[in-house]
Amino acid sequence: MDGKVIVVTSGKGGVGKTTITASIGAALALQGKRVVVVDMDIGLRNLDVVMGLENRIVFNIVDIIKNRCKIKQAAIKDRRIDNLFLIPASQSDDKDAIKPENMVWLANKLRKEFDITLLDCPAGIEQGFRNSVVAADEALVVCTPEVSSVRDADRIIGLLYAQSISPKLIVNRIVPKMVENGDMLSHEDVVDVLSIDLIGLIEMDDRVVVSANTGMPLVLQEDSKAGKAMQRIAMRLDGHPDLPIENPMIQKGFWKKLGSKFSRKN
């Protein structure tokens, strides 16, 4: 059976697409899937460093498209996690080095080799976005609980629907304390405004920065709440669509817990 191709996209930049692609890819591989993650940001590659694989790059995606190497030669195998591969972006080529038809061809090849292909889409709605979307079967839209980010997500969702893809939403960088204080949109607010299915909630987590610093996969860090949330998203993508979505909450001590029992109104 052919594998599926999932694009991770957002519209607005810097909301966590690359972090999420790397972590969900790793989580799916740990769950036993054969996974390839592809950096679609031609000219500004990033996924390689987030995954700690930057010094292993020989060939890149443009080399594959231009027939300068085989897919197998460009796909870097992660030595820490079995069945996880990365196809890096090219750092020197132009954004339009890849045409949509090239990506359709590549995606078909990848479907034969891998259970799951994750495309890390660049920000924006230009060539890189179009290339990723034509090749994809499914889409994950990432946003943060901020006005500009949610608005851009809405635009992206519209464009995906126009391509007959019904995306699922990930809300990232949630700060539970601010949500509770009423100073950050809650995920209910975001879902209410975008009216789309939710697939995961990820909170702001220092471990994400530590993982990006060291290149050590987030999902291998025991104490990362964001990592745990990514693992649950991976399970939802892989056979457990109904796994409950946990709402990030403030860690409460005994007294605070007791206090909230009395002050909770609804």
Binding site: E146, V147, G182, L185, V193
Partner: protein, 93 residues
């Protein structure tokens, strides 16, 4: 819930997210009303077809536009009527 947020709740002071949500809903609405010029031209052609079945109108001086204000948006369609067609007779059964 900490003391500050409790105080906020007691004083019934909504957090900034209430403003965020309102702004967001408005932005999404106006974003969607931003229609391509082509779409508007298509709509105008269709409208002329339909209206011409009932009225004789001056197709040249007809105007279609979207007007936006802070409160709401409206589709404004303006055409002088030259004459009303006679009501079609209902065919006898």
């Amino acid at each position: 819930m900490n003391f500050n947020s409790l105080l906020k709740k007691l004083m019934n002071k909504p957090g900034s997210k209430t403003i965020a949500k309102k702004r967001l809903q408005f932005a999404l609405l106006t974003d969607k009303l931003e229609i391509k010029t082509d779409t508007l031209a298509d709509l105008q052609r269709d409208l002329v077809d339909v209206i011409s079945r009932y009225f004789e109108i001056d197709k040249q001086s007809m105007k279609i536009d979207i007007q936006r204000s802070e409160e709401h948006s409206a589709l404004i369609f303006n055409t002088p009527i030259i004459a009303a067609h006679r009501r079609r007779e209902i065919p006898a059964t």
